[in-house]
């Protein structure tokens, strides 16, 4: 699939993608917060506020509880590394990334699951009851999102005839060799969108703005973190959000992405990518203002819808082929 390319160009592309993911992700969080603030008739912090927050946190000295073990200090690094690695597996502004031999869409899902597994452990490790509660809830949500995510991904992989993310995006962008079926596509897209809201801890499932201990999920797990550890976790969760938005933007509507490596195509691809991701951030900000957070026991209803839609996406594929 990948044309032979000089090793220097390959490395440059991967580095460029990593830089884009690392640098753009805090701005996306800032943009969502800004949209929410404006919709609530507030001025709100600037879009660049998350950068300042990260800078502040990196300077502060971390405080560790005496009950914690090595898991607690290792987790921020594991979460950060696994999230960035997952981000490198997905095409961001060019459809054929040199790293696509390293893993397919299943590796992508389980790299993110690895980060979450350690985050759950760290929540338990801190010994606080809130951490344990957050971990338990995260495990519930994770066990419900994973089947829906995998089903939706298989529906997409089947239509594109490959589980490799670069191949899927490249074929969809060029509309070649894929069984275009808008119904299956729509079902899978709706399912993935619900899953993304749940996975990144956005409003109908979790509220990223709250520090009310009884309702929070992600915030409860990272409650005991401070200083550079907290900065790494916050940054990792921003990158995770961006990576999921990239998944939606590029797997379901990859048009505009660079399919060749000319400077012109790459810059257009980057511009289109930023517009798409910003559009999705606007959508998420609007959703957060329009809907209330669901009670924890109602989350199953929402994720049940995601699972059924993903299942129907698969079903449609077989029905229309058979």
């Amino acid at each position: 699939m990948i044309p032979d390319q000089p090793i220097a160009q390959a490395i440059a592309l991967i580095l460029a993608q990593a830089v884009v993911l690392l640098c753009v992700s805090p701005a996306i969080v800032g943009l969502i917060n800004k949209v929410k603030a404006r919709l609530q008739c507030r001025q709100g912090a600037g879009i660049l506020q998350p950068y300042a927050d990260l800078k502040k946190l990196f300077r502060k000295q971390p405080v560790l509880s005496t009950t914690t073990t090595w898991i607690f200090t290792a987790t921020p690094y594991i979460v950060f590394a696994s999230t960035v690695t997952a981000g490198l597996l997905i095409p961001v502004f060019a459809s054929q990334m040199p790293l696509n031999f390293a893993g397919n869409i299943i590796a992508f899902v389980y790299l993110l699951a690895l980060g979450r597994f350690f985050l759950i452990l760290a929540g338990l490790d801190s010994g606080s009851s809130f951490g344990g509660m957050g971990s338990s809830r995260e495990a519930i949500v994770a066990s419900l999102t994973e089947p829906a995510m995998i089903m939706a991904i298989f529906a997409i992989a089947l239509t594109a005839g490959s589980t490799n993310l670069s191949t899927i995006v490249h074929r969809t962008a060029l509309l070649e060799g894929i069984a275009t079926d808008p119904s299956a596509h729509l079902m899978a897209l709706s399912a993935v969108f619900i899953v993304v809201l749940a996975e990144t801890g956005r409003v109908p499932v979790d509220n990223p703005a709250t520090h009310l201990e009884l309702t929070m999920i992600h915030e409860a797990m990272v409650l005991e973190y401070s200083g550079r550890y907290l900065a790494l976790l916050e940054w990792a969760s921003a990158i995770k959000l961006l990576v999921f938005l990239t998944l939606i933007a590029n797997v379901f509507a990859p048009w505009g992405i660079a399919t060749s490596f000319t400077p012109m195509a790459l810059s257009v691809g980057l511009a289109v990518y930023l517009i798409k991701v910003a559009g999705l951030a606007l959508l998420i900000g609007t959703i957060e203002c329009m809907f209330a957070k669901l009670r924890l026991f109602r989350v199953t209803d929402l994720l049940g819808v995601a699972f059924i839609l993903a299942l129907l996406g698969l079903l449609f594929f077989y029905m229309l082929r058979g």
């Binding site: 275009t180 119904s183 699972f307 059924i308 839609l309 299942l311 029905m319």
Partner: protein, 222 residues
Amino acid sequence: MSWLTPHIATQIVDFGSAMLLVTCFAIVAQRRLSACVDLFALQSLFLAMTAALVAFFTDTRHIYIAAALTVVVKVVVIPRLLKGVIERLNVTRELVMKVNVPASLLICGALVMIAFFITEPIMPFGHLLTRDSLAIALAIVLIGFFTMISRQKAVTQLIAFLMMENGLFLGATAATYGMPLIVELGVFFDVLVAALIAGIYTNRLQDAFDSVDTTRLNELKA
């Protein structure tokens, strides 16, 4: 319009039908009555769009009229009527269900599969334009039927009934490019009257039992 091959037209119509099916699942999962009404209005809007697309691709004039009537009756009038009924009630959401939401969703998923298996032998004989719209229409009818059985509030049952009617209309448009206009006008009138009667009935239920739970009607049996 050289790009508009029959294949593309089929996909666009199928996409519209799939939107209807997605809103069906949203209605099944939704407990708040007013949100259910909004979702029904949205579904009717998708239905009108799909019907208009079929009319455009097949160049059938009278389906345009049916689509316009759908917008007037099912997107504007009936949802307003239902909102008025809900405002009078003291319940805003479906609290007790015979089948809980995740189980209902799984059953509805199974119903969609059944619909596909039933229509599969018919599909090769159908028109090219309507590949899986017929199956989706049948699925919507089945889901509406199931929702009517499994919910207890009169308002939800009414929405489920209207959802079934949407499915039938989609089926008629997809399979035969619409019924004769006079039949469709009659159906629209019937639906409007049915919604009115059901609204009045709901209000009477509320007055008599102080609840819109239809299972309370069993108390009337001696």
